[in-house]
Amino acid sequence: MTEEKRTIVRVIGVRKTFTMGSQTLEALKGVDLEIYAGEYVSIMGPSGSGKSTLFNMIGGLDKPTEGKVFIDEVDISQLDAYELAWLRNRKIGYIFQTFNLIPVMTALENVTLPMTFAGMNGDDAQEKGIELLKLVGLGKRFQHKPLELSGGQQQRVAVARSLANDPAIILADEPTGNLDLSTGEEIIELLQKLSSERGVTIISATHDYKMLNVSDRVVWVRDGMVDRVERREELNITIGGIGEKLTGRKQEPGGA
């Protein structure tokens, strides 16, 4: 690892406590994490371990009870509403398990909406939207509404939308969670392609072992804490060929 690494996401001592009536639940119990620009990081852990909560903290969608999150060395708790909207619009692209497309808009309108917010003019946005939909393999179906598309296709639209304003970071929360095996694999392949061809930092919460294959690093989360962080090389040693067996694909040698 001679390459110089730039930290793009820094999580310091983040705790999150949910209060429901008289009960409190500590979903994150002090998480420290550093993610470098251009990395593909998977956050792995069983259901309920706090992956989504961490995802929301990093994405500026929710506020930590304690601790700080830095994006590009900027403490996001210090941002005002306008700057936060700007961060969500330009800096980060979100992909959700349930796709979360806007049902009353066509695929193309879904993809161009963030561009509209960014002040891009209509024609440019259309052109770029079509280009992005082609990139994710949906070149012909851009006039369809989400409900007229299959789950895999909807997630492709969501991937295209996440790329709308060329974000530096793509955050994905269980992007394959609602997809069948082969469709899920296609989405993973797509994310890997974005990571390697466009240099986008990808942070994906998942419990899908197929993700291991494409990750530069894996952050194992257990019970609201980071259990361990492994690089891909180490991964091969500890869990052998699990990923390979599941996807039937060979791993490329070396890493980032």
């Binding site: 390459e3 110089e4 690494k5 730039r6 793009i8 470098y36 620009a37 251009g38 990395e39 929301n56 994405g59 969608l61 929710d62 509403a81 306008y82 909207a85 700007w86 969500r88 619009n89 330009r90 979100y94 959700f96 349930t98 979360n100 497309l101 806007i102 049902p103 009353v104 808009m105 909406l113 963030p114 509209t116 917010f117 960014a118 002040g119 209509g122 939308r161 709308a164 304003n165 060329d166 530096a168 990571s195 390697s196 466009r198 240099g199 986008v200 930092t201 980032a256």
Partner: protein
């Protein structure tokens, strides 16, 4: 190996630190949203149509009565008094009876409550969608703007329909009560004025009715909205 390089090369901040939603685009989004949810919008608008048509009916009735009074003399006064109008002979004016005034006010109140209720339901239905918009960078003010525009358009369409309906019905009733001759004596200017007033009132009601639901939607945290889908 060029990975981190590509990110570093990206010009920070891009073409400008801008978050906008131009008026024409808001209008387009609101309009499409109404069209897609046509039946939902109709339900929201229905109570407005009824209330505005009642308001227009009452106002145009007065206009017809005024026309009758101007042309009809003594006979007209008797006919109008019989029909339940307060006739001020000296001033040559006709006014709503107190009871009628109360019914109009009440109907408008009920209508506002109905709109708030219908809009609350429709906004709640759309929480996930609003949350997504916020995740994509929408500001609170944009959400507010979209809802106000939708309500404005709904108000305009509903109030216009209601006002025309009410006026037509008023003509019909006038013709039946006083003979079709009254229609010739109707002061067109003041009828138009009444219809316009009813349309304006209807728009205002629609906007007032959406304020609270829209405010709720606008200041909602995106994460709540995303989660409410599960």
């Amino acid at each position: 190996m060029s990975r981190s390089g590509a990110v570093l090369d990206r010009p920070e901040g891009g073409p400008g630190r801008l978050i906008t939603l131009p008026f024409s685009k808001s209008l387009e989004i609101s309009f499409k949203s109404l069209r897609v949810r046509f039946f939902r919008s109709m339900i929201t608008v229905s109570s407005l149509v009824l209330a505005v048509s009642f308001l227009a009916f009452v106002l145009v009735n007065l206009d017809i009565a005024a026309g009758l009074l101007e042309h009809g003399g003594r006979d007209a006064v008797r006919a109008l008094s019989q029909a339940g109008y307060d006739v001020d002979l000296a001033g040559g004016a006709v006014a709503m009876s107190a009871k009628e005034r109360w019914i109009v006010i009440l109907s408008l109140l009920v209508c506002t409550v109905g709109i708030v209720n219908a809009q609350l339901m429709s906004v709640t239905e759309r929480f996930p969608e609003i949350g997504v918009m916020k995740c994509l960078g929408a500001l609170d003010s944009m959400i507010l703007k979209l809802f106000l525009l939708e309500a404005g358009m709904q108000g305009l369409a509903g109030a216009f329909m209601g006002a025309v309906l009410g006026a037509l019905f008023s003509f019909l009733v006038g013709a039946v009560r006083f003979g079709s001759g009254v229609l010739a004596e109707v002061p067109v200017g003041s009828v138009l004025e009444s219809v316009g007033l009813a349309v304006l009132g209807g728009c205002a009601l629609s906007l007032v009715g959406v304020l609270y639901p829209a405010w709720l939607a606008a200041r909602m945290e995106p994460i709540k909205a995303i989660r409410s889908e599960h």
